[in-house]
Structure formats: C-alpha cells, structure tokens
C-alpha cells in the first residue's frame, strides 16, 4: 500500500499540519510505503504529480484559510485534475483530509472538507473520510502531551476515525472536533500569549495591532471614457 502524505501549510518551520501528520504516521499500517510532500507557495514538480497518481492513498493535511482550502493547495488540486491520466484503468486513489483551523470550533472546517469531496468527484478519486480540528495553534504547546489524553483527547478520536477508514477501506462521514479545553481559556491565552506575545517580539504594543493604515496609492481602472478613446 502506497500512501502519500501532503503537508499543505505554507509556513516555514514547524506547522500544525505537520504536527497532525507526525501523529498519524505511527498509526498507519506497518507495511505501508509512505512518502511525504510539501505543498506551499512553491509548486510541485512534474514528477511529483506522476508519483501522486501512482499512490493508493493520499492524505492532505492543511490549514483552513477563509473557510476553505488555501490558494496554493487549491492550485495544486486544479493542476492534479488537469493531469489526470487518460488511461481509465488507473488505480483508484482514496483521499483523506486532516484540516486544522485557528478558531476554536473544528466544524468551521466543514466547507474545506466539502471542497475536497467535490474535487474527488471531479478527479474520479474516492473520498475516504476527513476530520477538522479547531484551535490548531495550540498544538505547538502540546508537543509532550500524549495523543488521546488531556487537551488532545479528541484528537485521539479524530485520528482513530481516519485510521479506521484507511485500514478498512470504508468511507466514513467527516468528523469535527476541538481540544478538550475550555473555550474561554483558549480565547484568553490566544489573545494574551499568542497575539500580544508576537506583537512584543516585533517591538509593538497590543494597541498597535489595531492600526488602520491609510489608503496607499492604488491603480484604479481608468474611467470608461479613457477606454473608449
């Protein structure tokens, strides 16, 4: 069984999408041949697409952007659709998705999962299942917490859900969850530690984050008369 894992986070360094892939890997069938890809602002190479079409299982792990798939990953998905091999005897690829988002509620990932499902339909792939997990930016502070306990209890269920479908080959409805952690504490720590902490590192005060930069010189479309001239 060939499994291709795609990290669709465009960030440099550690990513929450990568965190999820790291937690998934040890749970996959031992005999699986696993390859990993990074899809960020830099496009995949031609041979990467050929390889992806030779895989049995594709796992997409990506952050939610504007309630949907981020543009660089969407670009890769459209490229993949265009490169569909004409040979209909090609093996059927099963697709799985792990979406993580910044807001607390994991079910805000629902539309991104729908987009992946619609993509599968267009490409002739089988959609296996997916999960969406909220408060993704918490992962980096939970590196030492075992999956399935404490705030990562629900992540344990989510991974189990995905792995069961990968192993059995059965389709399952997507699953949405968030850390087992009080929402108000998440909100407080995101604001105080995460945003204000980042501002401080950049020499800014919390109130600076509310700045309203003025209108820069922009190129407006010329008035209609100019066009006709």
């Amino acid at each position: 069984m060939k499994i291709a894992m795609i990290n669709g986070s465009p960030k440099g360094g550690a990513t929450n999408s990568g965190f999820l892939l790291d937690k998934l890997r040890p749970l996959l069938p031992r005999e699986a041949e696993i390859s990993t890809y990074r899809v960020g602002p830099k496009a995949l190479k031609e041979e990467d697409y050929d390889e992806l079409y030779r895989t049995d299982i594709l796992v997409l792990s990506f952050p939610l952007y504007f309630d949907a798939v981020p543009s660089h990953l969407l670009r890769m998905m459209t490229e993949m659709e265009q490169r569909r091999p004409v040979d209909e005897s090609q093996r059927t690829i099963r697709v799985y998705a792990m979406v993580n988002n910044g807001f607390f509620e994991g079910d805000q990932c629902k539309l991104a999962v729908n987009i992946v499902e619609n993509w599968c339909e267009r490409c002739g792939f089988h959609f296996g299942t997916a999960f969406g997990h909220g408060a993704g930016e918490m992962f980096s502070s939970l590196g030492n917490v075992p999956v399935g306990s404490g705030p990562l209890k629900n992540l344990g269920f989510a991974l189990e859900h995905l792995v069961h479908s990968i192993r059995s080959g059965e389709h399952a409805e997507p699953f949405f969850t968030q850390p087992k952690f009080p929402r108000f504490l998440w909100q407080l720590s995101s604001t105080r530690l995460f945003w204000h902490g980042a501002a401080k590192k950049n020499g800014l005060k919390p109130k600076d984050l509310r700045r309203r930069p003025g209108i820069p010189p922009i190129r407006l479309s010329p008035p209609e008369n100019d066009v006709k001239r």
């Binding site: 539309l111 987009i115 479309s221």
Partner: protein, 168 residues
C-alpha cells in the same frame, strides 16, 4: 467604490470588464504577479494592516476598507473560488483583526475598520453540480460573517455570457 476581483482573463473578457469596472478598484491576474500567503501573520503582528510580502497586493486590507462592496467573479472550482480569486481573498487577511468575537455561537474576527462591505459573489462554469453550488453558497455566507459584511449575495451562471448579461 467597489472592489472587483475576477479571473476573467482566462475567459478573454477583459474589454467588457474595463467598461464594467470603470472607476472601481479592479483586481485581475494580469495586473501583476500575485504571491501566495505564507501564513506568517505578519499582517497582524509585524506591520498591522499591511501584508509583509512585497508585491502589488500587500495593501488589499486598506483598499477594501474604502469600498462599500466586494464583487467576486470566479469560475466555480469544487464549490469554491478559482485559485486566483482565492489567492486574493487569502491576501486580504489584514482587513480584519486577530482578535475574536462570537457570532452565531462561533468564533469570528473583530473588524479592523468601522465600515462594512456587501459581499457579492458571481460564480460561472459549465456543469456545476448541485453539491458544488451548495458548498459555494455556504462559503460566501461564511466569508461574509468573518469579514463582518452587512449583506451577501451569491449567483451562478452557466457561462460568462450569461454572467455579463446579468451584471449589465
């Protein structure tokens, strides 16, 4: 003023668009090469309100803030926007604040600016499925909520000709 984000270059409809978008802030893929968002949150925590990527699209938040309407004209792509229109959306993150508020029981962003936009999305494409249209409708609704839009509208067209007739 309206901000009109479109992918009509591919459909060869630039001359129509020039007329339709006269005097508005029109954003298309032929204007300049657009970079993808790198997820660094610099537009919130380094240069608040402005993207740190140095290209023509770094001021999208401030540009949107002087508009009363954002019109998205996009090929319907798996029930979402096409890669270019999606890219522009992703680069407007600075329009909102990193801070949270609760709307309809869920977390969303606080607005950075006092003004609110109307969000209008016009999707075109041959044989869009029911499911894709459903996803697209929900997506525009969700985007409107997050951007603090006061209203939103979604419409679908089988081809660009129909779309042009409807917008004329």
């Amino acid at each position: 003023m309206k901000m009109i984000v479109h992918d009509l270059e591919e459909a060869g409809e630039i001359s129509w668009l020039r007329e339709f978008g006269a005097g508005q802030d029109v954003i298309g893929s032929e204007d300049a090469v657009i970079r993808h968002c790198t997820g660094c949150f610099g537009c919130w925590t380094r240069t608040p309100g402005t993207c740190v990527l140095k290209d023509e699209y770094r001021h999208l938040g401030a540009r949107l803030a002087v508009c009363d309407e954002m019109i998205l004209i996009s090929r319907c792509t798996y029930g979402g926007y096409s890669p270019f229109v999606c890219n522009v959306m992703n680069r407007t993150l600075s329009y909102v604040l990193p801070y949270f508020r609760t709307l309809e029981g869920q977390t969303h962003h606080q607005p950075r600016y006092e003004q609110a936009i109307r969000l209008t999305a016009c999707f075109y494409g041959e044989n869009m499925t029911e499911k894709e249209c459903g996803t697209a409708r929900s997506l525009v609704r969700a985007n409107a909520l997050n951007l603090g839009a006061e209203r939103f509208e979604v419409s679908f067209y089988d081809n660009v000709r129909q779309l042009k007739e409807a917008l004329a």
